[in-house]
Amino acid sequence: MSEIILKVENLKKEFLLSKDRKINAVKGISFEVKRGEIFGFLGPNGAGKSTTISMLTTQKEPTSGEILIDGQSALENPALARRKIGVVAQHNNLDRGLTARENLIFHAKYFGMDEATANKRADEYLEKFGLKDRQHDYVRGFSGGMAQRLKIARAIMHNPDILFLDEPTTGLDPSYRTILWEQMLALNKAGTTIFLTTHYMEEPEQLCDRIAIVDQGELKAIGTADELKALIPTNNIISIKLAALDLAFVQQAKALPEVENATIQNGVLLLYMKHERPDFNQILEWIKTLNTSLQNVSLSTSTLDDAFIHLTGKESIDNGHKK
């Protein structure tokens, strides 16, 4: 058993669009995931997250690079690697023609599990994921939340060392997201390493041990949430609520001497200041020149969301969960 459950070395993926046009979806990324970690893999749409997850889970062949799962090459022996990984895809890929219980049993048997063990584990997970009453119903009639629970139950039927979840909570209502996270934390406590991608910034900030931020196929940063937040030039952010917002304000603000960067988030103008304890007067002077009235101004410290914007230059899709 290796302490490093997943090691990725200079992983690259090129897609050939036509004879002379290609896309470099993943441009040589390297990182490690330790056994027992909850590892967050964040990035804006099109950053190469799904392509990377597909390669890590042997569903796509990399153009070059190496993937070691528990110390063994997943490229040389993908079948062996698959025994150690569980995958929860973003889309619903459950077997619609089978019942919930059959989905679990068949999956277990694809892994060579015997009938008795498969049934025992199916009982346990159907109970744990609240699907016992619906176990003999066909999956095609399941709601999004139920399908999601079943996908996770199915992915852990063969007791994987590392569980990959691609956007597991997207499309779920907030209360259900909490339940799902409790289940994943319990699973992690029981020893399963968790690798996930998500759009919701507060999830990795609260739950992930370490986070990698990718953009345009490159790894921008990796570390704990605090380490990533510390990457912002200053911890000080001024958030300004104005009666009317104009995109031109962002450009104007960026031109101000003390402002490092500026963006609009959830209808609030955010100024990332170059130094701590910024000169409020200067900012207020500038606001006076704008053709609108000031409603609120406050100083806040950075969040993971801010680190994300700083590193990728893009706003996360997460709207209204922070600030």
Binding site: S54, T57, T58, Q59, K60, E61, A79, L80, R82, R83, I85, V87, A89, H91, N93, L94, D95, R96, G97, L98, E102, N103, F106, H107, K109, Y110, F111, G112, M113, R154, H158
Partner: protein, 273 residues
Amino acid sequence: MAIKNKTNTNINTNVSWIAFKTMVKRDLLIQARDKWEFVFRVAMLPFMLILLYGYILPKVGLVPETFPTQMFPGIVGMSILVTGIHGTAVPLTMDFNMSREIEDRLMAPVNVRIVALAKMFVGIIESWIGGLIVLPLSIIFMGSSLKLTLNLQQILVLIPILLLAAISSATLGLLVGTIIKPSQIAAMFPGFLIPMVFLGAIFFSWNALTVTPIIKILVLVNPLVYVNEALRAVITPQITHMPIFYSVLGIVLSILIMGYFGAKRFIGMAKGK
């Protein structure tokens, strides 16, 4: 170390075998739950051909009384081939492109070839059912005019030919399933199955095409020609047919060629190409 490796290999073989059986069981279970769709899909084409060419037209007098005997081996071969192609190709393309249900099987800790083999095996079983369905239909509608006598020796030759025909239909299904997209299934009938069926030496034997030499050469790309000629050589040897060596060779070559490209395309798709 050597002993440990051997144990590992045994475990892997065992897992592969359980996985294969489970994948076959899964496909058969899904099909069994939709059994009337299956019966309708498999029986309708041979039924219509038997009804028209084996019953109505001989009765009307537009084809000779001997025509049912002439076409019987061809109908069996056609039913095997079409059922197997359909049974492999359609679920394969749907699984890969629409429902993506196959992903769970591709994530099994076995060589992805096992997944392809399981799909083909299901196609083989279905194709035999397709061949069997023709028998009662033939007896009901053409029984009185069928001149067939099968001795033990003929039956012993027939079995491997039926097996080869079924494998050929599954490999063709694998290839077709990796080429067509779900949106093209409707086009598969007029574009692929109809020419294969009507130029597949069902209603004529290949030798009879000497009068149309170009067509005689062109139809050699059609695997159904070899299947039907081989069946004809065994079931109705009195009717002119391709020497059985060549028809069996044709089936084997089509299995090898289509199996090679089908497997290559399948593995490519499994690797996300």
